[in-house]
């Protein structure tokens, strides 16, 4: 696996080009470029669930994709990847594509397409063991339809379907742990990443692609429209998600946990919350208990993660 050298990578021909209609400041385009650059050693076929990335990059008669790309529907990108990979294997077996042709399949989907409507197709594809990398672009709500809550939306976040009102403090349920759900399938490589920590992200893409089997990368993706922050600070919000341990960077490789980035001095969760208008109601004095609840949730998850890492060393 090559050492990531951003300067040399930028000299490579772009596989995902500009001119797309992603919002200014959106993290998704940045992430896709990082993923495809990290995969530069391979021939790649990209698959995309319905969502922001799909609608903004394939507006007929234009496309941003300089690799073969398929969008079918919202809930089935993992099934589509299964079919493409099955065809690839079969056509090789029938001698209709050369044995030495190597293709990597990379599926992109948002949190709606992954945690919610696409969970069944994802689980099926993971269990069947198709060889593909699934990249989750986690912006923590249904942003494409206009900021509706998903099971990835954090507790107390405002969305248009978990609005803040006199009797409701935003979303009342905690965020689902998709990484553990995926890892429970026993797949060889599962990791989290953030576009703010691009070397970490790209190293993980390369690691994932070195496996012949299903792999999963959950990438934090700031949506300035939905998180209610300025476009200029979108990467900063992503970085702060990592620095507060809200979105710890780690990997689960063949069942073993490893934290790949440890904040020198973890920031209080408030530092991340206050950047985003979706949490503005939590900044009121009467909601300090809710901030504390989120901080406790982050702390307990971080502690558990460290214990899992420690335990992994004994394996």
């Amino acid at each position: 696996m090559a050492v990531i050298n951003i300067k040399s990578l930028t000299d490579l021909g772009p596989r995902f080009v500009g001119g797309h209609r992603l919002c200014a400041g959106c993290n998704e385009g940045t992430i896709v470029r990082q993923v495809l650059l990290a995969a530069h050693e391979y021939e790649v076929v990209a698959l995309n669930a319905t969502g922001c990335l799909e609608v903004t990059t394939s507006v007929y008669p234009y496309t941003s994709w300089n690799v073969p790309w398929l969008h079918e529907a919202f809930e089935n990108v993992a099934a589509a990847a299964s079919g493409a990979e099955a065809a690839y294997k079969a056509l090789k077996r029938f001698g209709e594509i050369p044995e030495d042709k190597q293709i990597k399949f990379i599926a992109f989907a948002g949190d709606g397409g992954t945690y919610d409507i696409g969970l069944q197709a994802l689980s099926g594809a993971l269990e069947r063991g198709h060889s593909f990398l699934y990249v989750l672009l986690d912006n923590e709500a249904y942003m494409n339809t206009g900021i509706q809550r998903s099971s990835s939306t954090p507790k107390f976040a405002w969305t248009t379907t978990s609005p803040v009102g006199d009797v409701s403090p935003g979303k009342t349920q905690p965020k689902k742990n998709i990484v553990e759900i995926v890892a429970a399938h026993g797949v060889p490589y599962v990791a989290t990443a953030s576009p703010s920590h691009y070397v970490d992200l790209m190293t993980k893409v390369q690691k994932a692609l070195s496996y012949d089997g299903p792999t999963f990368l959950a990438v934090y993706s700031n949506c300035n429209r939905g998180h209610r922050n300025d476009t200029a600070v979108s990467i900063k919000v992503a970085r702060m998600a990592v620095e507060t341990n809200y979105w710890p960077l780690y990997e689960i490789e063949e069942g073993k946990y490893k934290i790949t980035y440890r904040p020198r001095k973890p920031q209080p969760i408030e530092e991340w919350l206050k950047l985003q208008g979706r949490f503005s109601h939590l900044m009121k004095p009467e909601n300090q208990d809710k901030v504390k609840e989120l901080q406790d949730w982050v702390n307990s998850k971080w502690e558990l993660l460290q214990k899992k890492e420690e335990f992994s060393k004994t394996l």
């Binding site: 021939e43 790649v44 076929v45 698959l47 995309n48 799909e54 609608v55 394939s58 507006v59 007929y60 008669p61 496309t63 994709w65 300089n66 690799v67 073969p68 790309w69 398929l70 969008h71 079918e72 529907a73 809930e75 089935n76 993992a78 099934a79 589509a80 990847a81 299964s82 079919g83 493409a84 099955a86 065809a87 690839y88 294997k89 079969a90 056509l91 077996r93 029938f94 209709e96 594509i97 293709i103 069944q120 197709a121 689980s123 099926g124 594809a125 269990e127 069947r128």
Partner: protein, 392 residues
């Protein structure tokens, strides 16, 4: 070569002979055995097919679509709720011009849940853009399966196709049928024609499944609608080639004793066989009756139907499905549309029969012809739609 097999096993055998690159499927009664038997061929190494035992029918069609767009020859099998669950993907597969062949052992839709023969499943797919062949017998189901591959993959067509036969009545019946040798099937079909663009062609990257809004969507759909005009010629060409190989001749429709028939029954799948028997019986009594059997339901053969019903005085269309809240059964609506502007059109009536596997007997068919004769006496069908063989 003659074999006596259950139709589902026979279709699995046809799939073995076809040896598709990819089969992605999910079990559902009454089509389960097709997939089950085929997976045994895979396990035995009789075929090189990549079998993807997906976790749902929705994923089955999703995987089939991606495989088909990758240039693979692709098949699946389903029925009833399974086809309904695929509904979203059926539209996308047709509009993506992916020549997937799907075997359907036609079965009723819930509720109440029912596993038996009924056409509600395929009728629910009639606006999805899939081509549809229908079969009266096991022999026809086998022959249609092989021909469907060649029709769907033809570069003038490139649409997916449903191969229908009745659940249980046909799917679980054992009939003696004439089959081809594996080698004959493979040489008849040849290699799957390469699509112009393939998802696996990394040298020439293409984007599939793009967004088209007010400025282009309608042109995409207009072009799709136009492409169905090529299908009938290909169906007939393939039938002709198949007849050379097997001696068995197929058309768009089957006309049974229609030449001088006053009252004609229009039917699809297994009930057409019962109807033909009844026609023979009634003909002996001097009644001028006949049967029109639809083989190609999609694209709907408007001209052929006009021509076939040109001499009839009274036509009863038998639907094994109903358009709830609508004016009639679905087949009737289409036949009526085909004839709407004809000057000398026959009287038209509709019967609903055989839902949820309710037997359609010769007595039922005789009753249906009676309705046709009564309409001739009265000058019209009253009521337009009659339910047959049901406790009212």
């Amino acid at each position: 070569m003659k074999v006596a097999l259950e139709t589902n096993q026979l279709i699995a055998l046809a799939m073995k002979q076809i040896e598709p690159h990819v089969v992605a499927a999910y079990p559902i009664t009454p089509s389960t055995e097709v997939v089950q038997e085929f997976s045994q061929y895979v396990a035995n190494g009789d075929v090189k097919t990549e079998f993807v035992p997906v976790e749902s029918e929705h994923s089955a069609m999703s995987a089939c679509l991606a495989a088909s767009l990758s240039g693979a020859r692709v098949m699946t099998a389903t029925a009833s709720q399974g086809l309904a669950f695929m509904w979203e993907m059926l539209h996308i597969a047709a509009a993506s011009r992916a020549p997937i062949v799907t075997i359907v052992a036609n079965r009723a839709l819930s509720a109440p849940i029912n596993i038996h023969g009924d056409h509600a499943d395929a009728m629910g797919a009639r606006d999805t853009g899939w081509l549809q062949l229908w079969a009266e017998t096991a022999q026809e189901a086998y022959d249609n399966t092989i021909q469907a591959i060649k029709i769907a993959e033809d570069p003038r067509v490139r649409f997916p196709m449903l191969v229908n036969y009745d659940g249980f009545t046909t799917s679980h019946a054992v009939e003696t049928v004439e089959i081809l040798e594996d080698e004959q099937v493979r040489s008849f079909l040849g290699a799957a024609p390469k699509p112009k663009y393939s998802l696996l062609d990394t040298e020439n990257p293409a984007s599939f499944g793009v967004l088209a809004l007010q400025d282009y969507y309608m042109e995409f759909r207009r072009a799709q609608a136009e492409a169905y005009k090529n299908v009938k010629d290909v169906v007939l060409e393939v039938a002709e080639d198949y007849a050379k190989l097997t001696g068995r001749k197929y058309g768009i429709l089957e006309e049974y004793r229609l030449d001088d028939a006053d009252v004609v029954l229009v039917a699809m799948n297994s009930a057409a066989g019962t109807a033909k028997e009844t026609v023979d019986y009634l003909r002996k009594q001097g009644k001028k009756v006949g049967v029109l059997k639809i083989r190609l339901f999609r694209p709907f053969p408007v001209e052929e139907i006009r021509c076939a019903l040109g001499n009839a005085k009274s036509v009863v269309v038998m639907d094994r499905a109903y358009t709830y809240g609508g004016p009639s059964g679905p087949l009737f609506e289409e036949i009526a549309t085909a004839l709407v502007n004809e000057t000398n059109k026959p009287l038209l009536g509709n019967v609903i029969a055989g839902l949820g596997g309710r037997d359609i007997t010769m007595e039922d068919i005789e009753h249906v012809f009676d309705l046709g004769f009564k309409a001739l006496e009265k000058g019209n069908f009253e009521p337009l739609v009659s339910w047959v063989g049901v406790r009212e």
